[in-house]
């Protein structure tokens, strides 16, 4: 049990402007299930990408020792050759191909380029038996459920003679039963001597199956628990995951909260747009007062973005039910247009895909959501447009040589300021900010915080979604926690600790 299979030593990986991994070490013993845990953005996935060769040797610093041999993987094939297989969060199966074809994709059972289908099918059958999936090898992937697809991924890993299996959030998209099965299977494999690394947000699950737990935070290894040697509890892990101080990261704010509720959501439910049986949001209730900043905390997959987009002109989901009240009046937004007109703005978490037109310039992006303001009878007043765009640029402190600069050429922080500016230009009463500081540096973050505070002071109501708990605690007046589509808590920010938030975020039905 104590023989070491993998050792990662002082791994440091830098992306432009961000240190994603800082002197990380990971020590995995043979035949164990090793849990890797940390907040969103703590560096778990990056570490696994370094290990599997997605980030090739040379783009990071540090050493990887696998079975006591130094490894310098240039690509994913080289790591797979040694038996290190990673199963990503987003499944990488091709829906239109059969199970057998997917399992042996890139590893076809062929002689001189001609595929031996009989061999392929027979081997697939054996593999499917191992993962207890009772489906014909010829079945197409698209006809399988998510849980079954997950099993196919594992079968595929087995076909590669896997020694170390890495699973990135394998149960995130699975229901209770499928999750149980999967974990049971992992335990069986452990008995047969296989080692796995399990990345998950679900603490209970990890505590149930893991032998060791490594906690990452902000790209650093906090500690590794050996559960045979010491007692570990959920609270201990949560503390390690979030345990950092709120330093002077947040600008001062003039509180100017009025008593009137500007925006209120009642019994809001929605279903997955493609899988209409799957309920994503369950009777969500929330409200925000004038001048108030509320936060929505939730782990990945909790339905934060889905909630925001479904509220914003039904941009997400099917079978949406529930009511929205704006200043006490019931309103219904059938389209985004209506939502904007009645004073709601949504800043998407993904500015490149949903927020900006990258090939267009700063000016056109700033004015796009409210062209009415600079036009008369549909004819644009381009002079007025330039004046308005310049004034927003100044207000947001967007650093660009000119408003005619193409958005692609701006830094992430400045792009984000343009997105915010674009929505401020629509003069909203309610701003829904989805991860407003994702992927931007500390300086730009501070500026964005200042803008948000300023908006609240001027009487706007802000709903802020963020994966970073300290950010929510530093900025918000109240924080709602969202877990699997349900609001599980409504906590005054001054009373909130990261531990309590994390508890509410991971546990349904506590409140």
């Amino acid at each position: 049990m104590s023989e070491r299979i993998l050792e990662m030593k002082s791994i440091t990986k830098t992306f432009p402007g961000v240190k994603a991994l800082d002197d990380v070490k990971l020590d995995v013993r043979k035949g164990e299930i090793h849990a890797l845990i940390g907040e969103n953005g703590a560096g778990k996935s990056t570490l696994m990408k370094v290990l599997s060769g997605v980030h090739p040797y040379g783009t990071y610093e540090g050493d990887i020792l696998f079975q006591d041999k130094r490894c310098e993987f240039k690509n994913i094939n080289q790591s797979e050759e040694l038996g290190i297989v990673i199963i990503h969060q987003e499944l990488a199966l091709i829906p239109e191909l059969s199970i057998a074809e997917n399992i042996f994709l890139g590893n076809e059972q062929a002689t001189k380029g001609v595929i031996n289908w009989n061999k392929t099918i027979i081997e697939t059958r054996a593999l499917l038996k191992k993962v207890r999936l009772n489906v014909e090898p010829e079945e197409k992937i698209k006809n399988l459920g998510v849980g079954q697809q997950q099993l196919v991924e594992i079968a595929k890993a087995l076909s590669k003679k896997v020694k170390l299996l890495i699973l990135d959030e394998p149960t995130a998209a699975l229901n209770e039963e499928d999750s149980e099965n999967l974990l049971k299977l992992l335990k069986e494999f452990r008995e047969q001597g296989m080692t796995s690394i399990l990345i998950s947000h679900k603490l209970k699950e990890l505590l149930k199956v893991s032998n060791s737990i490594t906690v990452l935070r902000d790209g650093q290894t906090i500690r590794t628990y050996r559960r045979t040697e010491e007692e570990v509890t959920e609270t201990m892990i949560i503390k390690e995951m979030v345990g950092r101080d709120l330093t002077e990261l947040f600008p001062d704010r003039v509180h100017n909260i009025k008593d009137n509720v500007v925006f209120e959501v009642k019994d809001w439910s929605a279903y997955h747009p493609l899988d209409v049986e799957r309920q994503i949001l369950h009777n969500v209730n929330l409200h925000v007062k004038q001048g108030e900043i509320i936060g929505i905390a939730g782990l990945m997959g909790a339905g934060r973005t889905e909630l925001a987009m479904s509220l914003f002109g039904k941009s997400y989901g099917k079978k949406i039910t529930g009511t929205i009240k704006k200043n006490g009046q019931e309103v219904s937004f059938k389209t985004v247009d209506q939502a904007i007109k009645s004073g709601v703005a949504y800043v998407s978490e993904n500015r490149k895909e949903f927020g900006l037109i990258l090939i267009d310039d700063v000016k056109n992006n700033l004015t796009l959501a409210n062209l009415d303001r600079i036009s008369k009878n549909n004819v644009l007043n381009t002079s007025k447009e330039v004046v308005e765009a310049e004034s927003i640029k100044k207000r947001m402190n967007v650093k660009t040589p000119s408003i005619q600069q193409k958005i692609v050429n701006l830094s992430g922080g400045n792009q984000q300021k343009v997105v915010l500016g674009k929505w401020i230009f629509t003069d909203p009463d309610v701003l829904i900010l989805d991860e407003p500081t994702r992927g931007i540096d500390v300086g730009a973050k501070f500026e964005i915080y200042k803008i948000i505070n300023d908006l609240a002071e001027k009487g706007k109501s802000i709903i802020m979604i963020s994966s970073e708990l300290p950010e929510l605690m530093g900025m918000c007046d109240r924080i709602y926690t969202l877990c699997e589509g349900e609001i599980t808590g409504d906590i005054a920010a001054k009373d909130a600790t990261q531990e309590t938030l994390m508890t509410y975020m991971t546990e349904k039905g506590r409140s």
Binding site: S315, V336, E353, I357, N364, L368, L371, S383, S402, K422
Partner: protein
């Protein structure tokens, strides 16, 4: 000088194609011993390419939204056929006939737009089907025959000239020269007005000497052009149609909310949707617009041929797409200008005309045009990667 450099480097693409057009024209001017730019031939180039320019404008809008329309040639043929039946066989009055034909174009556009925008079928498929459907219907309407001749009023649309109201005798058509002068005055006044607003708002402007140079150059170009036309028969009616279309569509694309929305839909449909733009509706109407322009193209072509024939409009869609692409459209959407499409169409048109004058066979013409198309796009891609 800095200003000029800046101006040029910012607009390599825009100026690139104009320079290419001028280069090609000069090349053939030399190769054809000066025939290319004779008054007769310049008039010819305009009339030969008028219907492609009309299509290219519509195609540019389609490509800007990130779609494609392969059916325009067939639609043009179909509308031409209907025009023949209406005006030749059934003796409809010309004006009513034209209106009905434009309406038919709009309906066809709406049909294709519906499938593309609301049913989410790729436009390649929808319009490939349309290409077959309307070619087939053309044969049905014409019963495989050619219908001719059209009434004079209809033919005038594509082959008559504005008469000289000043009754100028001799070599020069006075009216055309006057039009040139009037246009230059309008141009100078509008430029001055724009400059005044720019200065008022303290916008960036080109330096005053450069501004004067620009005015002089364009004034000379306008008057040279009308002077050349005046030496032949003057201004063809179809040129007025083109002028109105180019000015109108440039205005819509640059100066209206609709234009901005079209660019946004092509630039990033998701972001446009979340900015409150009705992306489906936008796509639908762009196809309706294409239908109307294809109908206009069909009528101009039928009028020029003075016949409605089953083969009309063959491969027009490819000429229109090539014109748009040479003129700066990108298949990923969101990029392109109406003016660019016109330049693109003229590049192809001058190539065609020049090679014909030189007696180069249709076989080599096709091959050379293909290479030019590829070169234009390659130039653009390489330029972007720089």
């Amino acid at each position: 000088m800095e200003g000029l450099k800046q101006l040029l480097s910012n607009n390599v693409r825009k100026f690139g194609m104009i320079i290419a057009l001028i280069g090609i024209a000069l090349l053939f001017q030399i190769l054809t011993d000066g025939i290319l730019l004779t008054p007769l031939n310049v008039t010819n180039i305009i009339m030969q390419n008028s219907y492609i320019i009309v299509l290219a404008i519509g195609m540019m809008l389609i490509i800007i939204t990130g779609e494609i329309d392969l059916s325009v040639g067939s639609v043009a043929a179909f509308v031409g056929a209907v025009a023949g039946v209406l005006m030749v066989t059934m003796d409809f009055p010309v004006f009513a006939g034209i209106l009905i034909c434009l309406a038919i174009g709009a309906i066809i556009g709406a049909w294709q737009g519906f499938w593309v925008a609301y049913v989410n079928i790729p436009s390649f498929i929808v319009t490939l089907a349309g290409m077959l459907i309307f070619r087939g219907l053309t044969l049905v309407v014409l019963q495989g025959q050619t219908i001719a001749p059209f009434p004079d009023g209809f033919r005038g649309l594509s082959s008559a000239f504005v008469p000289d109201v000043f009754g100028g005798e001799g070599e020069i058509q006075l009216f055309t020269v006057v039009v040139g002068i009037v246009l230059s005055v309008v141009y100078i006044l509008s430029e001055l007005k724009i400059r005044r607003t720019d200065l008022k708002y303290d916008f960036k402007t080109i330096s005053f000497p450069l501004f004067i140079v620009k005015l002089v150059v364009f004034t000379i170009v306008i008057n040279l052009f009308t002077y050349v036309l005046a030496q032949y028969e003057g201004i063809p009616y179809v040129l007025i149609v083109l002028f109105v279309l180019i000015i109108g569509y440039t205005f819509v694309m640059n100066k209206t909310v609709i234009g901005r929305h079209i660019y946004a839909v092509g630039g990033n449909a998701n972001a446009a949707q979340l900015s409150g733009i009705k992306t489906k509706k936008m796509k639908f109407w762009v196809f309706v617009n294409m239908g109307v322009l294809a109908a206009l193209c069909g009528m101009i072509f039928a009028g020029r041929l003075n016949a409605a024939t089953p083969q009309a409009g063959n491969l027009f869609e490819l000429d229109a797409i090539a014109a748009a692409v040479i003129g700066g459209a990108s298949f990923t959407g969101g990029v392109g200008t109406v003016f660019g499409a016109v330049i693109g169409a003229l590049v192809m048109g001058v190539l065609n005309n020049g090679m014909s004058l030189m007696g180069i066979g249709i076989d080599w013409q096709q091959a050379i045009k293909g290479l030019v198309l590829l070169a234009a796009v390659a130039f653009d891609v390489l330029n972007k990667n720089k």
